[in-house]
């Protein structure tokens, strides 16, 4: 078992006290960020990126920190869903359906414990899936030439709508903005400058990290200033833990089904965690039928979506690590981080940077255990934090963002740029234009252009090379499906999701 050996080496990396400390810190901060309504995992990771640079962390530690934040945010999302009926992030939406009714029945502590166990199980199943699937896919990925990569990036663009698409047109606008931003700087195919207007600072293009931190963290601050929501929330009573072992055992089959479904939907580029939690919940509801009281505070209704979204969060790492194609918004942010650490994601990362890949995977496993241990006794603490007024929290976030960005390049020009991105992010959010496709556009656009150029150079200008291999044709077919499906299934799913929510306790 070669994989097992690598995994053991990974544990050796992740279990050093230094890395373990950062994993613990990341899991804690991640849970905190996930718990705060409005700050999702993508924001969480974006906010922590500057910190990783400020501290001058080595690559494996930086990645361990950020993946722990990622896993932690997925955990944290459920806390405000259950207690406040406000999902901390989109994937946690389904947890409201049975979590909040449980809380209303005075079983908030039980719901939180069940969801922590479900998150653990989902994360564990997803990570095991990642361990089994990623190395196989990495070997297979070596056969990808420029034409296949072009088709793959096309697939990623085609499925973008699935990530955030409420209004597909706005997603297209956002992705186009991202692609446009990415064209600034030297064009590596011809060696000429594009859109730099003789400004030296623009010659190397616009850094993703600047855009990410500006768009997510700074715009969040602007929203806060606008709303002046300084009051904080009233303290919620959690109640006593009265969960019986029998009830936990009863959820085990649900956990398995949810985790596996979540993992599969996470692996598909574009689908991501929201789909994972939704599919897990709806299928579980149909599967159990009359045997359960979904929507009425059934513990399995909490377990299924939580297992699903945590499974999906590990699944989304598979295409990111093996092909360099992010499967979700958060993995796009992680990918940008990898690139700026000078590590090339892709098939060879598994051989060339094995310590980082397996260190991160091991950190995910350890992180899941840490999160479970953190979450059951500390539930009361996280609940208290929910009532910390954002007027204390956001200035800290802003300070970290500024110090961090400045410490990367020591350039005040970058700070102005970051602020500009923050203002742009604020305006775009006001217009309901999603931000994640911008980042994906910035990351995927140049890669797609590059691979198109390369494919044509290799074929001496013959365009048919783009669909010249069975693999490429398969990817084109998937891309077509990915483009069409959201229009057919998307509105259907969303309508059901809405119906499910309005049918829920809120209307009681």
């Amino acid at each position: 078992m070669e994989t097992l050996q690598f995994l053991m080496d990974g544990f050796a990396v992740a279990l050093t006290p230094y890395n373990l400390m950062f994993a613990l810190f990341g899991a804690f901060i991640g849970t905190l960020i996930g718990a705060l309504p409005g700050l999702g995992p993508a924001n969480g990771v974006a906010i922590l990126i500057p910190l990783a640079f400020t501290l001058g962390l080595p690559p494996e530690t930086a990645m361990i920190l950020l993946t722990s934040v990622y896993a932690g945010a997925m955990y944290g999302g459920r806390i405000s869903s259950i207690l406040l009926n406000i999902p901390g992030d989109e994937p946690a939406m389904m947890t409201c359906l049975d979590g909040y009714p449980m809380a209303q029945k005075g079983r908030a502590a039980d719901a939180l414990a069940i969801s922590a166990i479900a998150s653990f199980a989902g994360g564990l199943i997803g990570t095991i899936g990642l361990i089994l699937l990623a190395p196989v896919l990495a070997r297979f990925a070596l056969t990808f030439g420029p034409a296949e990569y072009f088709a793959l990036f096309l697939l990623a663009f085609a499925t973008l709508g699935g990530i955030t698409g409420k209004n597909p047109m706005k997603t297209v606008v956002a992705a186009t903005l991202g692609v446009m931003i990415s064209t600034v700087g030297i064009d590596i195919a011809t060696g000429t400058q594009r859109y730099t207007f003789g400004v030296l600072e623009l010659y190397e293009g616009i850094d993703f990290i600047l855009a990410i931190v500006g768009l997510f963290a700074i715009s969040e601050l602007l929203f806060f200033i606008e709303s002046r929501a300084g009051a904080g929330r009233k303290l919620i009573q959690v109640g006593k833990l009265s969960l019986s072992l029998k009830e936990v055992i009863a959820t085990i089959p649900t956990l398995f089904r949810g985790g596996i479904l979540g993992f599969i939907s996470g692996v598909l580029p574009g689908a991501g965690a929201s789909l994972g939690s939704f599919i897990s919940y709806t299928l579980e509801k149909q599967y159990l039928g009359k045997k359960a009281h979904f929507g009425d505070g059934d513990s399995r209704g909490v377990a299924a979506p939580e297992a699903g979204n945590n499974g999906a969060s590990s699944g989304a790492l598979v295409p990111m690590l093996t092909l360099g194609v992010p499967g979700s918004g958060t993995t796009a942010v992680l990918l940008a981080m990898l690139i700026s650490l000078n590590i090339t994601p892709g098939p060879l990362m598994f051989t060339q940077n094995a310590d980082i890949v397996w260190g991160v995977i091991a950190a995910l496993l350890i992180g899941n255990v840490l999160l479970l241990v953190l979450n059951i006794p500390l539930v009361g603490f996280f609940v208290k934090l929910l009532s910390v007024p954002p007027m204390y929290l956001l200035p800290v976030v802003t300070m970290v963002a500024f110090v961090g960005i400045y410490s990367i390049s020591h350039s005040t020009f970058d700070l102005y740029f970051m602020i500009a991105f923050g203002v742009a992010g604020y305006v775009l959010r006001k217009l309901d234009i999603p931000l994640v496709p911008i980042i994906l556009g910035m990351l995927l656009g140049p890669e797609m252009e590059k691979n198109l150029g390369h494919a044509l150079v290799l074929s001496d200008g013959d365009w048919s090379t783009l669909w010249g291999s069975p693999l490429a044709i398969g990817l084109w077919a998937f891309a077509a499906l990915g483009l069409a499906l959201p229009y057919i299934v998307g509105p259907l799913l969303r309508r059901r999701m809405k119906v499910a929510i309005t049918e829920g306790p809120e209307s009681d």
């Binding site: 000078n342 892709g346 020591h410 150079v457």
Partner: protein, 324 residues
């Protein structure tokens, strides 16, 4: 009166004494024209450390990262704002001269700074996959002579960048015509470019020896030639040079420093000496060995070497149509 005259004499003597043996006092800075973690950052930080150990600087050397425009921001800063600073070194490499030659630092040329010296190099290589039919550089070049489009290269620099130029230098040295038609695919970094060669999509890789070390050890690739004067030391001694194979192509990616143009002559002399002393020191040899740098001193004077390199790159860039 007498006292005053004596005092002024002493002062004058002190000044001239100082001029004779100029030594840096106070803060010495080294600008790394990149983000932390890159090659230039490494040059500044490790050289600064050794300069301190050798007591060639009064305190420590402060590394300042000034990224942008592939070194252009730092170059402009040195030329304009720090024109006459005696205590400033800036890390440089082939990338600096290449961009200067191709006019990518608008309005600036290589004569606007003082070139101090080199502290080692990373040598260029041309490599193929282990399953490739090409066994030597001559096999590869023979095919290219028959048809310049027959061998497709991948590398980490942009078109016209150093990795691309190395292919052109080798091809030109062997008399391959139609240089602009040699297919070159540029990737973001050496790892990505090598992935395509190992995967069999591209025929050959052009890059530096440090980029292929991992793949060489795993046996995934075969290095056809290293573009050095002599065989490289240590574990690389099995790799033939291009010269051995009758192709007079050299491609060393050197690391070194420049400093402001209007610094005092004494300061310039001091730093030339200091960098030479650094290069010869045991400590620096250890740093090089640990980080995969290989000894390199340009043939002849460093300034002349820079001028020659700029001229060569300019000519090649013109030949492939990058410069009009």
């Amino acid at each position: 009166m007498l006292i005053k005259r004596t005092l002024s004499f002493v002062a004058a003597a002190a000044v001239s004494l100082q001029a004779l043996a100029w030594e840096p006092s106070g803060k010495v800075e080294c600008i790394a024209p990149s983000d932390p973690g890159g090659g230039w950052d490494f040059t500044c930080r490790s050289a600064g450390q050794v300069l301190q150990e050798l007591e060639l600087v009064p305190g420590s050397v402060q590394t300042i990262n000034m990224a942008g425009a592939g070194g252009g921001v730092a170059y402009a800063h040195t030329v304009s704002k720090r024109r006459s600073d005696d205590k400033l070194l800036v890390a440089a490499s082939n990338a600096t001269t290449t961009r200067l030659a191709q006019g990518q630092f608008p309005g600036m040329d290589a004569d606007m700074v003082t070139w101090v010296g080199t502290v080692g190099a990373d040598y260029g290589v041309i490599a193929v996959s282990k399953d490739s039919p090409y066994q030597s550089l001559n096999d590869l070049l023979a095919d290219m002579k028959a048809n310049p489009r027959s061998v497709k290269f991948s590398g980490a620099s942009a078109r016209g960048g150093w990795d691309h130029l190395k292919v052109l230098i080798a091809a030109k040295a062997d008399g391959v015509s139609n240089l602009p038609h040699i297919p070159y695919l540029s990737y973001n970094n050496g790892g990505e470019a090598l992935t395509q060669v190992v995967g069999g999509q591209v025929d050959a890789f052009t890059g530096d020896i440090s980029e292929v070390t991992g793949f060489l050890e795993s046996g995934d690739i075969r290095v056809l030639a290293v573009l050095a004067e002599e065989r490289l030391p240590g574990r690389f001694s099995d790799i033939p040079t291009a010269r051995e194979q009758g192709v007079d192509a050299l491609g060393a990616n050197w690391r070194g420093f420049y400093m402001p143009k209007d610094a005092s002559d004494e300061a310039k002399a001091y730093w030339r000496n200091a960098v030479a002393t650094l290069y010869d020191s045991e400590q620096w040899q250890a740093v090089m060995a640990k980080n995969g740098l290989i000894p390199f001193q340009p043939e002849g004077d460093f300034r002349a070497f820079i001028a020659r390199q700029v001229a060569d790159v300019e000519a090649l860039s013109r030949e492939i149509g990058l410069l009009k």
